[in-house]
């Protein structure tokens, strides 16, 4: 019975969490995000902000499963549609200007990557509280 209540509570939190924001940026460098300032997030996701304040290389990733939400995020924070964002990186990678963001189909896999990869920042369209437990993250509103 206790477990059922716990599950219901988590589900409730998950839904609230998912509905109340534009997604989550999971990273150990939340202080470097200037409070979620659009310009900084744009620079990170366009590959023009390459090292965190302690010198660690920035490694970018995002979850593509919720295409509508990802579309919204990229339009808001980079000015590109998701398609144009991918084209932007195709050109950048093949012309020798860096490595493309890692694309995850699954939120769990993305969170595990973020937790185990130094310097990473991963965009999640949604995530449960339990999933983010022990991680630093920034809610995008």
């Amino acid at each position: 019975m206790k477990n059922i209540f716990k599950s219901l509570l988590i589900s409730f939190l998950f839904v609230v969490f998912a509905e109340a924001n534009q997604g989550v940026l999971i990273t150990n460098y939340t202080d470097d995000l200037n409070g979620g300032q659009t310009k900084r997030i744009e620079s990170i996701f366009l590959g023009s902000f390459s090292n965190w304040s302690d010198g660690t290389k920035v490694i970018v990733g995002y979850v593509s499963s919720d295409q509508a939400k990802a579309e919204e995020f990229f339009k808001e924070y980079t000015g590109y549609t998701l398609k144009r964002y991918q084209k932007y990186w195709v050109k950048r990678v093949f012309s020798g200007y860096g490595t493309a963001p890692k694309i995850f189909k699954d939120t769990k896999e993305a969170v595990e990557f973020a937790k185990s990869t130094p310097g990473s920042i991963v965009y999640l369209p949604e995530a449960s509280v339990t999933m983010l437990e022990g991680s630093s993250y920034l809610l995008l509103r």
Binding site: K39, S48, F94, G96, T99, A100
Partner: protein
């Protein structure tokens, strides 16, 4: 491992021999045990190393397969020397398969390499080609200041740095009027490009904000292009220069708005050519008349402007314009050594030329199909009348799967009568390609 104890060989031999063999067996067992431990240790270490190496390495790549056929135009007259002729038979071209490696050994050092296998590479019988498009090391001091060393694409305009990566642009091939002057003219001087494909040297690059809007820049110095010498050999400019003058390229791109990027490029280079012949009053060497040496060098200056504009989420426009001069200086010498030193300026001429391309694109059918129409034009020598080449290029690009494109286009070329390559011959070619990026 050989098991000596159970070996028939041991059982069939005398006790003395057996004692000796037992000693050998113990020694060998000890040695093998050590070797085994060493192998295990190395394997373990290499596994750790491999996993670390793997984490710091990214492999991408691209592929392109083409089919082209002349569909309108004179089959004989369109076959010109020096490349660029349409395919009268209709041929498949295993255009390229490239692998792009990025190694990140430290937080600030990146090594990048693009290695391409072109036209079905088969070196034993000299078919196709294996090419290192770029191979460089980059050190990031800050976002505004990074240093690169190695072989790089010359960072000029929109297309040169992506010209081999067909999935990264809409049409089948990059526009020739700005990128392949040797497809526009056959004249020795006019056919020299506004810039070469690659350069070996150093570059500084970076990005930042001006008036709160993002920009990026790159400044590169390299050996410059090397031309053919009198023996018909072409030196390796990625290894050794043929003059003291270094080439310089610079490009800046700025985004006044999120949807609009403008850019400007610049290139200067000195190309040396050493040849035998008689120098005419027109400043051109007639190789059939004399055996004196002439040192010829040309100073290239090219200026480029570019713009990419995402007008709406589905409509975009990209355009590039390049103007350049090629100032040829020729000097007369009696020995090749003097010519190589290149002392006195004797005669000269300056070629002024331009090329541009403009292409609207329209994403229809959700996000899979792009319609495009490219118009491109070049005048390889503005002083000469009736010398231009114009290209009309309508097409469709269908993304069959993620980064997997089918491109179909008509490539209509219209030329003027004084053009040294095409001599007023017009033609239309059907072009298609399958390209994939990963």
């Amino acid at each position: 491992m050989i098991r000596f104890k159970d070996s028939l060989f041991l059982r069939k031999h005398s006790p003395i021999r057996l004692i000796n063999l037992t000693v050998i067996y113990h020694t060998l067992t000890k040695e093998i045990s050590l070797v085994r431990k060493l192998i295990l240790l190395l394997s373990f270490a290499s596994l750790i190393f491999a996993s670390e190496w793997y984490k710091k390495t990214t492999i991408n790549g691209y592929f392109s397969h083409e089919f082209e056929r002349l569909i309108d135009g004179d089959k004989k007259k369109t076959q010109v020397s020096g490349g660029g002729s349409p395919d009268t038979l209709g041929s498949y071209d295993a255009d390229s398969f490239d692998l792009v490696f990025n190694f990140q050994p430290t937080d600030r050092v990146r090594m990048a390499m693009d290695i391409g296998f072109e036209h079905g590479t088969y070196s034993e019988i000299d078919k196709g080609g294996l090419v290192v498009e770029y191979a460089f090391a980059e050190y990031a001091i800050s976002d505004l200041f990074k240093i690169r060393a190695g072989k790089m694409f010359v960072p000029f305009g929109i297309y040169n740095e992506i010209h081999t990566a067909k999935p990264s642009f809409v049409q089948v091939k990059e526009p020739t009027p700005t990128n392949k002057m040797y497809f526009i003219s056959n004249d020795d001087y006019e056919m020299i490009g506004f810039f070469p494909r690659w350069g070996a040297g150093l570059a500084v690059l970076g990005n930042g904000h001006i008036a709160d809007k993002p920009f990026d820049y790159i400044i590169m110095t390299d050996n410059g292009e090397r031309e053919y010498d009198e023996s018909g050999k072409r030196g390796n400019e990625f290894d050794k220069d043929d003059n003291e003058e270094k080439a310089y390229t610079a490009r800046i791109r700025y985004n006044p708005t999120r949807d609009w990027q403008i850019g400007a490029s610049f290139r200067t280079d000195r190309i040396g050519i050493y040849e035998k012949g008689k120098l005419g009053d027109d400043g051109i060497v007639d190789k059939s008349k004399d055996k004196q040496y002439y040192a010829t060098h040309g100073d290239i200056l090219s200026y480029g402007l570019q713009s990419t504009w995402n007008i709406t989420d589905t409509v975009a426009l990209e355009a590039e314009y390049i103007y350049g001069t090629y100032k040829i200086k020729e000097a007369k010498y009696t020995t090749k050594n003097e010519a190589t030193l290149g002392i006195d300026e004797f005669k000269g001429q300056t070629i002024k030329r331009y090329g541009y391309s403009i292409m609207p694109t329209w994403l229809v059918d959700g996000d899979k199909t792009t319609l495009y129409f490219m118009y491109a034009e070049a005048d390889p020598n503005i002083k000469k009348s009736q010398n231009k080449v114009r290209i009309y290029q309508p097409g469709v690009n269908i993304e069959l799967d993620t980064q997997f494109h089918l491109k179909l286009e008509l490539y209509n070329v219209q030329t003027e009568k004084n053009n040294t390559k095409w001599k007023g011959v017009d033609y239309t070619e059907f072009r298609s390609s399958l390209s994939f990026g990963f």
